[in-house]
Amino acid sequence: MVALARKTLIYEWRRFLPAMLAVGFAGLLQLLQIALVLGIFGSTSLYITGSSADVWVGYPGTQSVGSGRTIDADVESRILMDPAVLRVEPYIWDDGDWRGPAETGGVSVFVSGIDPSANGLMFSKALPADLRARLAEPDAVVVDRSALDQLGVDIGQTATINGHQVRVVGISSGLRALGGVNVLCSLDTARQLNDDPTDSGPTYLVAKLRNPAQAAAVAVRLRGSTAFGPYTTWSAKDFAKISVRYWLFDTGAGAGVLFLAGIVFLVGAVITSQTLIAAVNGSMREYATLNALGVGVGALRRVVLEQAFWVGALGLLGAGLLGIVLMLLARSQDVPVVLNVPAALGCIILVMGLAAVSGLAAMRSMRRADPATLLR
């Protein structure tokens, strides 16, 4: 079989280049957008994904990690009674007003009070052991590298949170927050920083199970007791999802992203189909001649669809390569970008769908390949 579609694509690549660029850039936009969204909104569940707790205990109806309310500290004993639970530790999440040594004005910070012991669960995946140990010192805090300028501090310097003095003992990375700055300290320090005396208990209790696979079942089992005041439980996975979903859909950000994705798809499809139609029109007389010789319209349409497929595949390849470069660049600049397999697959499907839609549009113009028009 003579590979008409591919040979034409290679020989007349200039004619197909605009279509490939359109597909490629549409793909690149979708890819980076998804990576940014996952990176930015993924950071809202960093508290969960960066820790090794299997079950989270918090106030009922909590919509995201950042919107928790205190629960009774005695809930801890109820959780510990369950034989599946290996370890429980409190986690204090609090808002704070940061005043640094440099002229930064007030900065809104999210204070995370965690257990600084070596086997602590909170941020066990995000915080190096030596930094965690240093948090045990009174008034010690760790801040993220990306927020140093914003906070106007450097290591060893002091600042105040809610009027209490703190000292920066370490700088971490990958703890970037959305809408504020994460500041890590010990549970004791966090209690010092809290100026509301009614807020006495922890915001969350996090538990490690003997068998992490049972997280969902244990979370259900631990619910329902009201003897220690209101609380509920989630498996870490579920709570992370709730948190990300809250930011994606309840804040309107997700709708904006979806809207933008739709626009990119539409613009990409319009440009791609127009250039494909032009490329097909350029060979219309030849296609009409083949039809005169008895080659069916269906077979000719398959040629166009195959060309659209290759345009999509090559555009995707270009978008992929450029996307990897740009994402590495973003990472090196502490821009949160994350790409997982489902998101990458979604991107591929979107781009190939765009190519297919354009191919179908170009196929319609094939109706003009009427061989009778050659006899004029």
Binding site: Y11, E12, R285, L293, V295, V297, L374, L375
Partner: protein, 250 residues
């Protein structure tokens, strides 16, 4: 290639048109292109339709080859009633039985001469080897054996038209239609194309129907139909059939 006698059933014409009419309507204007025209063509002959532009000769070619439908009358090609075939069946009929040569050569810029010829054969259900054998043979027959790896941009006008003829010929059609095949070519190349078409009619027994106002073609045709205003004015057979293919044009 099959011998000259394949389609020469006793007295049955290869192509028969009876009382065909065709009109085009643009806005309020109705133009009668073919007016109750009847025609019968025999296998193994090169028939030339000549006439001034707009006389309906291209429309007649389109109708006889199954590319266009008639308003009234009917066309019988190789025993099939073309008017009764739907689009798919017409495509199948053209695939099995017809070849076309157009004024513009209509070759794919990306394909070599060999691939241009092989491409339609792929769709005929031939084996890969058979398709290649036929492509090779047809290109040899039009004298392009040494040029068959070249793309259209590397071929002269005459060579391109010979590739187009080879593309039609490789299908081994019983009916070969040519629309102004020489009008884009110079004298020498035009002559060569005429010779090839004539030889195809003779050696393959193909019914060759050629539409042209090129006077050089007349002496080579077995039969010349002169058309005007949608009718056939004269139907004659030139007295001196040019025996060898190296005939001198008038």
């Amino acid at each position: 290639m099959h011998p000259a006698a394949t389609t020469e059933h006793a007295g049955t014409p290869a192509l028969l048109a009876e009382g065909i009419s065709k009109a085009f309507i643009s806005g309020q204007q109705r133009t009668q292109v073919l007016d109750n025209l009847s025609l019968s063509l025999d296998a193994g002959e090169l028939t030339l339709i000549s006439g001034p532009s707009g006389c309906g000769k291209s429309t007649l070619l389109a109708i006889l080859s199954g590319l266009q439908k008639v308003d009234s009358g009917h066309v019988r090609a190789l025993g099939s009633e073309l008017g009764q075939l739907d689009m798919r069946a017409l495509e199948r009929f053209r695939l099995q039985h017809t070849g076309f040569v157009f004024q513009g050569f209509n070759l794919f810029p990306a394909l070599s001469a060999f691939e241009q010829v092989e491409l339609p054969l792929n769709h005929m259900g031939l084996s890969r080897n058979e398709a290649r054998r036929r492509a090779q043979q047809s290109l040899e027959e039009v004298g392009l054996a040494h040029r068959m790896r070249l793309r259209p941009s590397e071929l002269s006008g005459g060579e391109k038209q010979r590739v187009a003829i080879a593309r039609a010929l490789a299908k081994e059609p019983e009916l070969l239609f040519a629309d102004e095949p020489t009008s884009a070519l110079d004298a020498a190349n035009g002559q060569m194309i005429i010779d090839i078409l004539h030889r195809i009619a003779r050696t393959h027994g193909t019914t060759v129907l050629c539409v042209s106002h090129d006077p050089r073609l007349v002496v080579h045709a077995d039969r010349v139909l002169a058309m005007e205003d949608g009718r056939i004015l004269s139907d004659r057979r030139p007295p001196a059939p040019t025996a060898p293919d190296q005939g001198i044009p008038s």
